[in-house]
């Protein structure tokens, strides 16, 4: 057989070997048999050096063509086989996509802290700071500095938790106390933070004070002996009652929705004057009156007022130069109103089912 015949026979054989290889392994075996170091094509190519130089250009060209063809076929066949393998694999991997996903467990923030953060963000957005203070307060910071008279009923042991004083008479601004009361108490409001802030900072002051407060209410569906308040205080030049309204309107709309109306009812608090309570229009009936709002169309949400000049003076601020407003809201109340909580006690049990709802 002439060399050219051999070459052509080999070409036909290679074609067949490659095209009939059914698996990647068989194809690889074919590649080794043809193109490997001892492969037939490799052997043929090696013979090229030994042939007549006159025949070499033609035969050489033909041999190279064959080798390229074999390479191309191998590549092609390899791709075909891979594709087939992937398709086969995919056919076996189809799943019922309605099966539940593998969810990573991510924890939930406590509802009360979610609301506190929300309020903080609202007020930080309009330039307020967030201030804190001690929960075990002196009666001066909790009451007296806030203009609460010494015989105010809220000071009684029925309305305030008193703490055993380990050093009677040494608290800042010690006071005389009735039996069963002392200079040291669990703060009943976060208002003491306002006093600390006014003592420690020069106006302008724009602050909120979220925090835990305590009152001796036996725990039931609507009461807890500890709850959370967010109070706010602004002290600056030229602050008006209109500023209080504008600020609280904005706050109420942020928390309850832009379509809610507000109502300002004059009221009395020792530390503000004029004082008022703020109602938000009922979200259930839209203000028409329903059982949720006790048919009034309104829901009480805030207490507020212009800072009493006595309070400013107690904190070393001249009320003729500066004026301000203060407000306070109960976080549990906001939570109960927004989410219709039937029992506040669920807030403090650590019940995973409750925590994961919010």
């Amino acid at each position: 057989m002439s060399l050219i015949d051999e070459l052509e026979a080999l070409e036909a054989k290679a074609k067949e070997m490659i095209e009939t290889a059914e698996t990647a392994e068989k194809l690889e075996a074919a590649r080794v048999a043809l193109m490997g170091r001892k492969g037939e094509i490799t052997g043929l190519m090696r013979m090229m050096g030994k042939i007549d130089p006159e025949e070499r250009p033609v035969l050489g060209k033909r041999a190279n063509e064959m080798r390229r063809m074999a390479e191309t076929l191998l590549d092609h066949r390899m791709r075909e086989l891979k594709c087939a393998a992937v398709r086969e694999l995919m056919a076996t991997e189809a799943v019922d996509i309605t099966l539940p996903g593998a969810r990573p467990q991510i924890g939930h923030a406590h509802l009360i802290n979610q609301i506190i953060e929300e309020v903080e963000d609202v007020f930080c957005g309009i330039g307020y700071t967030v201030e804190t203070g001690p929960q075990v307060e002196s009666s001066w910071y909790n009451f007296t500095a806030l203009n609460a008279p010494l015989d105010h009923p809220s000071r009684s042991a029925r309305d305030t938790f008193y703490v055993k004083d380990n050093a009677p008479g040494t608290a800042a601004h010690p006071e005389e106390h009735a039996h069963g009361e002392s200079d040291v108490l669990l703060r009943t409001q976060t208002s003491g933070v306002q006093v600390h802030t006014m003592e420690n900072q020069e106006p302008p002051i724009y602050m909120i004070a979220p925090g835990r407060v305590y009152r001796p209410d036996t725990a039931d569906a609507c009461h807890l002996p500890q709850f959370h308040q967010i109070e706010g205080l602004v002290v600056d030049r030229g602050i008006t009652f209109g500023d209080l309204k504008g600020t609280l309107d904005y706050f109420v709309k942020c928390m309850f929705g832009g379509d809610r109306a507000t109502r300002y009812r004059p009221h009395f608090f020792p530390f503000t004057e004029p004082s008022c309570e703020v109602d938000v229009s009922c979200g259930v009936c839209g203000g028409k009156g329903c059982p949720f709002c006790k048919h009034s169309g309104w829901i009480e949400i805030l207490g507020c007022g212009m800072v009493d000049p006595n309070v400013l003076r107690n904190c070393g601020i001249d009320p003729e130069v500066y004026s301000g407003f203060a407000f306070g809201a109960g976080v549990e109340r906001i939570a109960a109103l927004r989410y219709d909580l039937p029992d506040l006690r669920t807030l403090v049990t650590g019940d995973m089912r409750f925590l994961e709802q919010f």
């Binding site: 075990v136 002196s138 008006t240």
Partner: protein, 824 residues
Amino acid sequence: MKVSYDWLSSMVELPEDPAELATEFIRTGTEVESIDTVGEAFDHIVTAKVLSKEPHPDSDHMWVTKVDVGEANVDAEGNPEPLQIVCGAQNFNEGDHIVTAMIGAELPGDIKIKKSKLRGVVSMGMNCSARELGLSADHAGIMILPEDAPVGMPFAQYRGTSDTVLDCEITPNRADCLSMIGIAREVGAIYDRDFHVELPAIKAESGAATDDTVSVELIDEGLCDRYVARVVRNVKVGPSPEWLVQRLNACGVRTHSNVVDITNYVMMLTGQPLHAFDLAAFEERDGKRAVAVRAAREGEVFRTLDDVERTLSAGMGLIATGEAGATPVALAGVMGGMDSEVTDATVDVLVESACFNAGRTSHTSRDLALISDASIRFERQVDETGCVDVADIACALIEELAGGEVAPGCVDVYPAPKTVEPVELRLARVHALCGAPIEPAFIERALTRLGCAVEAAGEGEQTVYTVTPPTFRPDLPREIDLIEEVLRLWGMGRVEATIPAAKNHIGGLTREQRLTRKVGQILRGCGLNETMNFSFAAPGDLERIGMSAEGRGCPVEIMNPLVAEQTEMRRSLIPGLLQSVEFNIKHSTANVQLYEIGTLFFGRENTSAPKEREAVAGVMSGSMGDVTWNCKPMPLRFFDGKGVVEELLAQLRIPKVRFRPADGDAYAFLQPGRGAEVLSSGTVLGWVGEIHPDARDVYGIDIPVVAFELNLEALLKLSGAQEAYREFSQFPSVEHDLAIVVDDDVTCEDLERRLRSAGGKLLVGVRLFDVYRDPVRVGVGKKSMAFALTYRAEDHTLTSEEVERAHQKLVTKVCKATGGEVRS
């Protein structure tokens, strides 16, 4: 304060619809809790006429009556049908007009009228006395109406009592509004209209003068600002007239007898509490009945009008008589005494119109938990300037309604007559604080309507008003108080809402506040839910689980705790969290992952204020997530808790974190060998570990709980900044595994530190991937620790010779240092 619309309308013109007035009240600061129509209680009660009266066949004092109730009861054809009613009263005859409660009626005292049989005779209702109808104390017999009374008319309609009562919440500063006159004045100010009150006057005075009859001595100072006494002799104590009963009932005041009812009526009218004593209750000294006001002695016992024996504390005010006021007769300003009250036998009455000190009355009432109509008025400050006038009104009414003879004059002890200082009110200040263009004319008018004397001086914005508040408004001593009055009447709703400029002020969260939020975010990312427990603690809660109180100060003790488990403030978050684990397990949730960020309270000897420290703690039990079709959750153990702490510290970029075994008494609440102290550069941040089974037992938890508690303030302080970008090496790395057999007590930390130090600069990664113990293959008391070591150079591709050299050096050094051997 219950306000009778009917009564109020006799003083000032009112809108036809009471709801309209309520809206105005709410707008101006008087909360209206409810609007009720009285007379509704008279449902199924009608006027009637006695048709016949036969003796009861089986009783010697009861009667069987046939009563005509007109159209109120009809037969099947719609014709009026009389009712048969058994009646025990003796004061009526056939033909009398009476009041009958039919079946379905409800009488005061929760009496429901039903069809009944009285000694075998059917009774279809009840013929009522005035007392049974809740109208007066009169129970002498059934009510007999005039002969011209219609038959079958609803009783409420007949009586014309369709009054409306507004239940108003009066703020503590408005003592004046705890009276009908005060409310009428308020209405006048709201609507800018006049009000009129017709007050009765004493017709005649007779007998010995009051000051010849009575002596009043204020023994202890500070109890009583003024004491006025008048005497009315020969009163006829009996039921009050209908109109008086109606008005008192509308105000929610129970009626007793005419004299007592009159004192209550005058109190409702004027806001001045009065007390009527039986004059005979006061002992005679020097020919006069001696009245003394003195402070109670500690532990003194006194029986009040409600027949309760009360133990008094020192300083409570008493009205007393006898030598140095030895015998108490009333609790000043709060409640009268059992033995001095006016009874049917009373002949002479002493009317007390006094002003007891607000603070003292408030303390007495609070300490005894005894709140009366009088005490709530005194503690808000009664207008002492009115004491004499009010006493006169009461005496005039007693004269008129109880037939008394008023003794001439009064005894009036008034040590320091009150003066009212005028207050300056600047128009510019009103505008500056309210941010509203309130008209000067409005200001003058409103304050005048409220009873102030107003004089204006100056022009335009510079106008200054000199305002003299009335004596009954002790809450208006300052300019700001007047501004409040003006604003509330003008209307807070009318003020334009503005947002302050906040010039030169910067807000936002502090670094610590942002980091605290981040702590929460990281822990939630680790799968823990945030919870919140009480800040209270039970005494001994730390000892019970074996947690040392060292470094936690002394307990902060609550003087007036509500429950025995909440008498102190917490010194660790762990007891609360374990309680939450217990709660969840009891409610069939065994997989519990919770964290809490909260305040701990460390009491200090000789210091009033405790130290408050913020802490973050977590508990993990069960497994992360539930069993599902595609994963089997692993039970949470020590390393899961440690991992959470490591992640938290890494994300907070806390430098040089170390864990060391938490041993000894301080950590007796942790399972031995499964607790670690967490440190950063030598500062102890807290601990992580599995709760000791004995400690878990306290909470009835029978599965492992891994927990941690860290000092939040220390975390925030040590939290470092993000470091600058570091270039990745461009050159490939080479990985080598090394399993080394060491004694069991060689720690992973120790081994890792030695590997790193021995590996030099080329060793860039050390990762433990296996710990293996086997007495045969590894040896008793030994363990095999397998590490994946990564070698890489920053500036060239490592040759295998370089790696081999470095690795051999490392193996030699580490084996030598730890006494370990390479496991082949």
